[in-house]
């Protein structure tokens, strides 16, 4: 039922918006990483964000999570202005992110890495079971005591995804979750995204992999020079001449 809501989203129709980004600008010195970006995410949808390198996608996520502040504009989550909230407060409201550069704790074990997100919602005695459960889910069973920096890049990517999902967020932000994964692992990532989405989690995914985006069957926004360039279903976006020019053409 939840998955079908998003298919019915049509411009102009009032939808149940979980995330409302209004006219957000972010300047880094002279660089305008975001330049008046406005974008809405509907509750329980999977939403893809694409755009050429440097379009401001990762900056967008940093604004959402609150690790950095916008220069201007506002961010509304679940009907509430969260622009001035600290990152930990947003996390407690149900936001969670997997950063592009993973940000796992490399010098710690896999267990220690998962302990941190899990402990917010689980008692300490439940954690060993939850850790093995999650590791099975992302197909990394039995690596609890390995140091994360000794894992392969693909395994670290999985772990990073697992860490962001572990706290059962309501809005999950995934920045390039398939980078460095094999085709089969990419497919599994799509499965997991569908799994957590069907449990009611809203998911925003930044991606470059066209096949992957197609498999998500998601509403798609294209960012270009820090602005919303186009929006629609994947097929509409894929058929869009201008998008092809700025993005698909460059691939």
């Amino acid at each position: 039922m939840q998955a079908s809501t998003l298919e019915r989203v049509v411009p102009g129709v009032v939808a149940d918006v979980i995330l409302d980004v209004r006219n957000v600008t972010k300047h880094y010195g002279g660089i305008r990483a975001l330049d008046g970006l406005s974008l809405q995410v509907v509750r329980s949808e999977i939403h893809c964000v694409l755009g050429p390198n440097g379009a401001g996608k990762s900056t967008f996520f940093k604004m959402l999570m609150g690790t950095e502040r916008p220069t201007s504009g506002s961010i509304h989550y679940d009907g509430r202005d969260v622009t001035r909230l600290q990152a930990f407060e947003r996390a407690r409201l149900g936001l969670s992110v997997k950063f592009q550069n993973l940000r796992t704790f490399g010098d710690l074990t896999v267990f220690q890495n998962l302990f941190i997100p899990l402990r917010r919602t689980c008692g300490p005695s439940e954690i060993p079971d939850r850790v093995s459960e999650i590791l099975r889910q992302v197909r990394l069973p039995g690596v609890e005591n390995r140091l994360v920096r000794h894992l392969s890049h693909g395994q670290q990517q999985w772990l990073a995804i697992a860490m962001s999902v572990a706290s059962r967020p309501r809005l999950l932000l995934l920045d390039e979750p398939t980078a460095g994964l094999s085709a089969e692992e990419t497919e599994r990532t799509a499965e997991i995204i569908h799994e957590v989405n069907s449990e009611g989690m809203t998911v925003v995914v930044i991606e470059h992999d066209m096949g992957f985006i197609r498999s998500l069957k998601a509403r798609t926004s294209v960012l270009h020079y820090g602005r919303l360039f186009a929006q629609g279903s994947f097929d509409e976006i894929a058929a869009n001449e201008h998008v092809r020019q700025i993005y698909l053409g460059t691939e």
Partner: protein
């Protein structure tokens, strides 16, 4: 149902500390027994020295907690130590006659540095100051406090019966008043006096060191310890998991100040003496060297290196000012051979050897959390 003693041991063990095997604990207990009986076979002077080394170990543990476990390097850790010492002295001088004990003075020696840490920590961590800024700021705070204390020779700088005394160190206002008291615990007539030169004082300090060590072992292997370590590795990422890292940093900073203040209190009572030189660069750097050489990420390693280096400093002090120079060279050597400390590196090596020779059970115990 697990027997209770194994639950206690389990709570003291974990991935945040080296030495989680039965071998480690048996060895630690043997060392403790040797330390307890030390006054029976050592000279009086050696016992006094040993008290000092145990106090230094406490101070080192306080820095180990914030730097090794939470990634907050402070170059002003000695300031908490000295503030604790001065607070103990001031309250002690004022109350020892009327109260007959130093209970309140001891509390003041802990509370005063905690208050200082709370204010500084709030200013730094709630403004999200990090890394080198915190380190330098703390050094500056320490130097400023030292500068202030140096110019308090004038009798107008007196708190009740205690004159801050400038370069003469803390002393009583008038000749008739008592000096900095011995640690005197208890109430009314039932008090225990711990003369800083006695074996009793040594045992008191040893007991406190053991308790603080065990308490910290428990703390760093608890949930709080996991969060501390996550903050050390990547504080921003830790925050995005829903932890208020400002509060984590502030709280651990205050706890560290409490331990440093306790150490400073014991130091002041040990020598019945506290002086503004304690705020200067050398003592601040010395703590960093003790912690870095041993291994900032492990409590036991830090105690071992502090005792070893503290003893070496005392031996070298016969030859004048070379001791800090030699310690500096040892630090450079340590950083080249083992970035995370010599004692930690040796400990890990021994852990592996024991595991290779020991029974299967010991192998499991060693590897469960022994290596990071």
């Amino acid at each position: 149902m697990e027997p209770p003693q194994s639950r206690i041991i389990a709570a003291l063990n974990g991935p945040q500390t080296l030495g989680n095997s039965a071998f480690f604990w048996i060895f630690a207990i043997l060392v403790l027994i040797v330390a307890i009986f030390f006054p029976f076979y050592a000279s009086r002077f050696q016992v006094i020295t040993a008290s000092n080394l145990a106090i230094s170990s406490l101070l080192a543990l306080s820095l180990c907690l914030i730097w090794g476990y939470c990634g907050i390097l402070s170059l002003g850790q000695a300031s908490f130590y000295c503030v604790g010492g001065y607070a103990f002295g001031v309250v002690g001088i004022n109350l020892i006659e009327s109260a007959g004990n130093t209970n309140l003075a001891l509390i003041a020696g802990i509370v005063a540095p905690v208050l200082l840490a709370a204010v500084l920590g709030w200013l730094m961590f709630y403004r999200r100051l990090k890394g080198v800024y915190v380190a330098i700021l703390m050094l500056i705070v320490s130097l400023l406090l030292g500068l202030f204390m140096r110019q308090t020779a004038d009798p107008s700088y007196a708190i009740g019966k205690a004159a801050l005394g400038g370069m003469n160190g803390l002393r009583p206002e008038s000749a008739g008043d008592p000096g900095i008291p011995n640690i005197t615990l208890g109430f009314g007539e039932a008090v225990a006096v711990f003369d800083g030169r006695s074996a009793g004082f040594y045992w008191l300090v040893l007991a406190i060191l053991v308790l603080v060590f065990l308490g910290l072992r428990w703390l760093v292997n608890s949930t709080y310890g996991y969060i501390l370590i996550a903050c050390r590795e990547d504080s921003e990422r830790t925050e995005t998991f829903g932890y208020d890292i400002r509060l984590v940093q502030l709280s651990v900073f205050c706890l560290s100040a409490a331990i440093a203040g306790l150490a400073g209190t014991l130091y002041t009572a040990w020598g019945t003496y506290i002086h503004p030189d304690g705020f200067s660069v050398a003592p601040n750097i010395l703590v960093v060297i003790w912690v870095a050489v041993g291994g900032r990420k492990d409590l036991a390693s830090v105690i071992v290196s502090t005792v070893a280096l503290g003893w070496l400093s005392l031996e070298l002090s016969r030859y004048g000012e070379v001791s800090l120079l030699v310690l500096g060279l040892i630090l450079i050597f340590a950083m080249m051979v083992a970035r995370d400390g010599i004692v930690s590196a040796l400990g890990e090596q021994i852990g592996r050897l024991v595991a290779a020779r020991g029974s299967r059970r010991e192998i499991v115990a060693c590897f469960k959390g022994g290596r990071r």
